[in-house]
């Protein structure tokens, strides 16, 4: 198992349950990326009551709250302890290659031979920064969510935040509120209210079964796997952080960043349509929830049907911005993340560097598995509570592989 985050530890738990000898390799400490790669204010998008791992449910005082990074670390740490996971910390994997019907894993503390290997090293190892970043004038500070901790990290003055995912809207809001005027560049995005009909919107995702939709039932799986995270934030007020809320805070909304020429950022004129797409998709999702509530007899458990105002198109939205002249002192690239597979010397990546897999069973590499990637086996795959079903399925497959005659060639 590579990675002692919630995914690797959940899979480890299932292996332990079946008495299968294994080890969990971790470059740092358990839940490493939650310890070292999160900004200060970050909280989970899912409410506490949804935070559960195999055999461990949230039992704290605030089921409707949202965990901070340190609370997530404590929760995952506790899970590692109660499941007695065989974690080898401070062990970085430098290379994985096929060997004798299994794999040879080279680590900072020595080589390991294994028959099966599960990649649970995360979906967000590297910040994806678009090529246009090369055109940002050198006087302007550029940060990714990995560098960013809080607004005080940024110079005073204007900030261009690029990206309208959960990360982009959360950072835009707190930076704007720190007194640094924010211009937020948004392309296609996922709009959601924090609560709907009196319930957390993620309660609806869970209860209505949307989150349980399987990867092999989804029409356009490639698109589903590339979807940005929804515009949500976990706060005590359970407030909605959509683009209307940001505009209300004074954030200037502009279209997708298309190019930077001679220090001038050029934005798409298609802002109106990305608003329409997001509004229509949200309305369709809410209609799905309503239909489920009616059909399942849950009307009494929820409030009245709500509809939300369309995303307000700004009266004038700049199509270009002379960065230095208009006082932009920093750019925050909230343009997504991707996994780091540079250490994986097995030919299993597609032309874009993504892992070729079928529900976590890596293509053309018997015994190689993945967990914790977007919509790996279900829409909920990357959420903490989503790992249990995925890990169980993947470990089932792994066990049948170990039992299959083809795998018996292995000497390990």
């Amino acid at each position: 198992m590579i990675g002692a985050g919630h995914a690797g530890l959940a899979a480890s738990r299932f292996l332990t349950d079946r008495s299968i000898d294994h080890v969990v390799l971790e470059r740092g400490d358990v839940a490493n990326s939650w310890r070292t790669e999160r900004w200060d204010s970050l909280r989970l998008l899912t409410p506490n009551w949804q935070s559960r791992l195999p055999g461990l449910a949230y039992d704290g005082p605030d089921p409707d709250g949202y965990m901070s990074s340190s609370e997530v670390v404590a929760f995952i740490d506790r899970f590692a302890r109660v499941s007695n996971a065989p974690v080898r910390t401070r062990t970085s994997v430098t290379s994985v290659r096929p060997a004798d019907g299994g794999y040879e894993v080279i680590t900072s503390t020595g080589a390991i031979r294994c028959r099966c290997l599960v990649l649970a090293s995360g979906a967000c190892n590297v910040a994806s920064v678009p090529a246009v970043a090369a055109g940002v004038p050198p006087s302007i500070v550029q940060v990714t969510p990995f560098d960013y901790r809080n607004p005080a990290n940024l110079p005073d003055g204007g900030v261009l935040v690029v990206g309208g995912s959960a990360t982009g809207v959360q950072l835009a809001a707190e930076i704007q509120q720190s007194g640094r005027p924010v211009t937020l560049s948004v392309g296609e995005h996922v709009r959601l209210p924090r609560t709907y009909r009196g319930r957390d919107v993620l309660w609806w995702m869970d209860a209505s079964g949307v989150w349980n939709q399987r990867y092999d039932e989804i029409d356009d799986l490639t698109r589903a796997r590339r979807l940005p995270s929804p515009q949500l934030v976990g706060t005590a007020e359970r407030s909605t952080l959509d683009l209307n809320a940001l505009a209300g805070l004074g954030v200037t909304l502009v279209g997708r960043l298309a190019a930077i020429r001679d220090g001038r950022a050029l934005f798409s004129g298609g802002l109106r349509n990305v608003f329409s797409l997001a509004d229509l998709k949200m309305e369709r999702l809410l209609a799905t929830f309503d239909a489920w509530a009616r059909a399942s007899g849950r009307e009494a458990d929820v409030g009245a049907v709500e509809r939300f105002a369309p995303t307000q198109v700004p009266a004038s939205s700049p199509l270009q911005l002379d960065l230095t002249r208009r006082g932009i002192r920093s750019v925050v690239w909230a343009t997504g993340f991707h996994p780091d597979y540079r250490w994986l010397d097995v030919p299993v990546l597609d032309e874009k560097g993504g892992l070729r897999h079928d529900g976590g069973v890596v293509d053309d590499a018997p015994g190689l598995y993945a967990l914790g990637l977007p919509v790996l086996r279900r829409r909920k795959s990357t959420f903490i509570h989503g790992i249990e079903d995925d890990a169980r399925d993947v470990i089932d497959h792994l066990v049948s592989h170990l039992d299959s005659p083809g795998a018996s060639r292995s000497t390990a």
Partner: protein, 184 residues
């Protein structure tokens, strides 16, 4: 998904097959579209479109099409054709309309009529060089669709939104593109 009953005259299956085939053949997906243009007199020109490149080889339209472009008489021209900026509106409306038909077919929605008006507003102080702050081209373009179909208003709005998302002309108007103009 398409059903047998719905027929907007779009062969969605062929488009979906092409999408699958080109996933594994990015070279074949590289197209080049062309036009030739010949000055006539004054602001009048004649353009012709016949050949293009795609699927790895030269291709031809069934027939060659000619386009006359000129300026109206109020610009002291002879008005032997529509203005080039009007051709842009034609390009945008026809591209979005083709998209509406294809998306509706793919979603199993029967169209009865699809009509649109396109209007681009322009301050001609830009092209006349009166005010350097005023851009040459359109400062705003508005397309208004009137669609009669077996679908809810929301479904129709979703089709129109999707057609913008997949429109080449919408993209090239709303986003910058590198343009090289050279002299032989």
């Amino acid at each position: 998904m398409a059903t047998m009953a719905v027929n907007n005259g779009v062969n969605v299956q062929a488009l979906l097959d092409a999408r699958e085939a080109l996933k594994g053949a990015p070279e074949a997906a590289k197209f080049a579209w062309r036009a030739t243009c010949k000055w006539q007199n004054g602001t009048h020109s004649e353009s012709k479109v016949k050949g293009f490149f795609g699927l790895g080889q030269e291709q031809q339209h069934k027939t060659e099409t000619s386009f006359s472009a000129d300026h109206p008489e109020i610009f002291a021209s002879e008005d032997k054709g529509v203005t080039p900026v009007e051709y842009m509106l034609v390009g945008l409306a026809s591209c979005l309309t083709a998209g509406v038909a294809a998306v509706a077919q793919n979603r199993g929605i029967q169209l009865r009529s699809v009509e649109s008006n396109v209007e681009g507003s322009m301050d001609i102080r830009g092209i006349l060089g009166i005010d350097s702050e005023v851009r040459n081209g359109y400062d705003d373009i508005k397309v208004t669709f009137k669609i009669d179909a077996d679908a809810s208003k929301q479904e129709i709005e979703a089709i129109v939104a999707q057609s913008q998302k997949r429109s080449a002309v919408y993209d090239v108007i709303t986003n910058p593109v590198n343009v090289t103009v050279e002299v032989l």
